[in-house]
């Protein structure tokens, strides 16, 4: 495989919980992201899935340096960007861009489309000579499938899907190598979702982009991703390629998640076995000891309370080999006969 453009090592973000108005005392922390490791390779799409509140969006914000990580390192092509600031950070920002979830709040309603897509050039004047910018903005509109004549319009004159295209055009303006997509289609109609996904796939090939694609929709992630990471309570619990995760999941949480995907065939739906998890997701301010999934896991034993399972290929599965041998943070990782996921 190609070289890793982005390496994330032990990424942690804790939001302190304080009490008191004048004399603030820290009484705990919300451990939104609690030790995330992954690599992103040139030209690939890494999907990150998980429930609401598992820390997906915080990972995106940390990678964009919109939030300061509590610990851990983010390496862009081997350079640690976690502590960069000022000019050096600004230079790195040219290479990592973001597409936001909500196309209705991610575009300034009081700027024309031309100003919105042209802003990257104003912030990084070296990216395009001044006289050239308007033409570049129109080229970008054309690339994302919008009429270049729309340059003087305002965001409210567009539909949700068109707005998301504008957001993608803004992300593309600086020719980045990595685009972080934080649920880019979850606010759109299903018919429009497919168009935007197809656009993103086309752009990836055209510009050799690497995507980190964050979503809660398992079937969309399966469609677009080369590799998928499953997050639970601030950690990646299972990481593998599309076939490994969707056809041969070994972590109980992934298995439960996949068993909840609706199956379009009524007969298959009758036969399949759904795993209903007991209880709620624990609060990220009070994460269980050992394995964080043990409170809801049907396989949990004493070992799970005391030992944190590492995210690695489980030794038992490595011997067997095959698609089940991929990184899974479970002491008792094993394939299970569960109904194939839809999508």
């Amino acid at each position: 495989m190609a070289e890793a453009v982005l390496q994330v090592r032990g990424l942690v973000k804790h939001f302190p919980l304080t009490r008191g108005i004048v004399f603030k005392k820290q009484i705990g922390a919300v451990r939104a992201v609690d030790g995330v490791d992954f690599d992103l390779f040139q030209g690939e799409t890494l999907g990150i899935v998980g429930e609401s509140g598992c820390g997906k969006s915080t990972v995106a914000k940390l990678l964009m340096r919109l939030e300061e990580p509590t610990a851990g390192r983010i390496l862009f092509k081997g350079e640690d960007i976690t502590r960069l600031s000022g000019k050096a950070l600004k230079a790195v920002r040219r290479n990592i861009q973001m597409v936001f979830q909500d196309p209705y709040t991610s575009l300034n309603p009081r700027m024309t489309v031309g100003d919105i897509i042209g802003e990257p050039f104003e912030i990084h004047p070296e990216a395009a000579p001044k006289g050239d910018r308007r033409r570049k903005v129109q080229d970008l509109l054309d690339v994302v499938g919008l009429n270049p004549e729309y340059i003087n319009r305002y965001p409210h004159q567009f539909s949700g899907g068109q707005r998301q295209r504008i957001g993608i055009a803004r992300g593309l303006a600086l020719n980045p190598e990595i685009i972080i997509c934080d649920e880019p289609v979850s606010a759109l109609d299903v018919s429009v979702q497919a168009q935007v996904i197809n656009l993103m796939t086309r752009l990836q090939k055209e510009f050799d982009l690497s995507y980190i694609f964050i979503a809660h929709d398992l079937s969309i992630v399966r469609h677009i991703s080369d590799r998928v990471g499953v997050m639970y309570l601030g950690r990646i619990v299972e990481l593998g390629n599309e076939e490994q995760i969707y056809e041969h999941p070994t972590h109980p949480y992934t298995q439960a998640l996949l068993s909840a995907v609706p199956v379009p065939d009524p007969e298959a739906r009758e036969r399949r076995e759904r795993i209903i998890l007991a209880g709620d997701v624990p609060s990220p301010a009070n994460i269980p000891s050992g394995c964080r999934f043990r409170t809801r896991c049907w396989k949990a034993q004493d070992k799970c309370v005391t030992e944190v399972p590492p995210l690695a290929v489980p030794p038992a599965l490595r011997e067997v080999g095959g698609p089940a041998a991929h990184e899974s943070a479970c002491h008792f990782a094993a394939e299970r006969d569960c109904a194939p996921a839809g999508g």
Binding site: L89, F100, T105, N108, N147, Y150, N152, Q157, S159, Q162
Partner: protein, 325 residues
């Protein structure tokens, strides 16, 4: 003029085509339209919020009427002799409270002064107090409140507590204490006092508006592009937070002119021989049954002034909102 060639709302024909297909239909039409748009070179120049707003305002009758009124007020505030030949301080006690007479269309006040001349000359003090106090309070309030909302933290806490202190001062009592020690007879101590007590109101509004605007993803998007705090504030937050400030400031303008009247009535605001609507209104208000004309004219002038500024504020606010176009 190239503008005349466009449609009345200033949009090009391509926009009209796009508007025909609504919602999801546009989505499908977009790719197709893109190839057509490729061929036709872009005709219109680049537009921004401010040029679009100005384009709109020039065609808004409410803006034109209110702007002309304000222009007229400013002119007579500077040169009252343009429309009033008399002397506002030349009074004849024999004519006390008499009604309209030839050459004196608005009648006379208690001192026998010409109400018309005094109303015209009063514009200077009232408009100065109203405009300067509003400008000062709006500027100070929106800068301090805007920074508090944007940066948060201890600066926000400090500023909120300081504005609480100013909110706690009763305005009349504050005026009596503060202005009674001032011997200066110009309008400036009054303007200063109103700014001092008026800014916290604007600061609170600005702070809230900035906090609301700051949370939007487009501010995060700008930061992700590498924008500094100045660009985020001026380009993204300020245009989206200014509307409530404009509304409150234009309403406050009327309040400030009447506050000047109240302070003058209590003897701590403007002092005779300064001529102001406030002084005339407060002295006439006790005589409303015997000589209503004394109250009517300065009060009407005050109302029209306040109305003009509120209409102007409304028109500017609407022009700065692209959704209303």
């Amino acid at each position: 003029m190239p503008e005349q060639l466009e449609q009345p709302n200033g949009r090009t024909s391509a926009d009209a085509v796009g508007n025909a297909g609504a919602g999801g239909a546009m989505e499908f039409a977009a790719t197709e339209a893109a190839s057509i748009g490729q061929a036709t070179a872009p005709s219109a120049r680049a537009r921004s919020l401010w040029s679009d707003a100005w384009h709109d305002l020039r065609r808004n009758p409410i803006f034109i009427v209110s702007a002309l009124l304000i222009l007229f007020l400013v002119l007579i505030a500077i040169w009252p002799q343009l429309i009033a030949s008399g002397n506002p301080l030349a009074c004849d006690i024999n004519k006390s409270q008499l009604g309209p007479a030839p050459g004196h269309p608005f009648g006379f006040d208690t001192q026998g002064c010409d109400v018309y001349t005094r109303t015209v000359y009063g514009a200077r003090a009232s408009v100065t107090v109203g405009v300067c106090a509003t400008a000062g309070a709006a500027l100070l309030g929106s800068i301090l409140g805007g920074f508090a909302g944007f940066f948060g933290g201890w600066w926000d806490a400090l500023l909120s507590r300081v504005s609480d202190i100013f909110f706690g001062i009763p305005i009349i009592l504050g005026g009596l204490v503060f202005l009674s020690v001032v011997t200066n007879t110009t309008v400036w101590p009054v303007v200063g006092f109103i700014v001092l007590l008026g800014w916290p109101q604007i600061a609170r509004i600005a702070r809230g508006a900035v906090i609301t605007a700051k949370q939007n993803d487009y501010v995060q998007a700008a930061r992700a592009l590498g924008a500094g705090p100045a660009r985020m504030l001026l380009r993204h937050i300020a245009p989206n937070a200014i509307a409530p400030v404009i509304v409150v400031a234009t309403i406050a303008l009327g309040t400030y002119i009447s506050l000047e009247a109240t302070l003058s009535f209590l003897g701590v605001g403007l002092k005779p021989p300064t001529v102001s609507w406030g002084i005339d209104i407060s002295s006439a208000s006790t005589q409303i049954r015997d000589a209503p004309h004394m109250l009517l004219w300065p009060a009407a002038a005050l109302s029209v002034t306040v109305l003009a500024f509120i209409m102007l504020g409304d028109a500017v606010r609407d022009a700065l909102d692209p959704k209303l176009r």
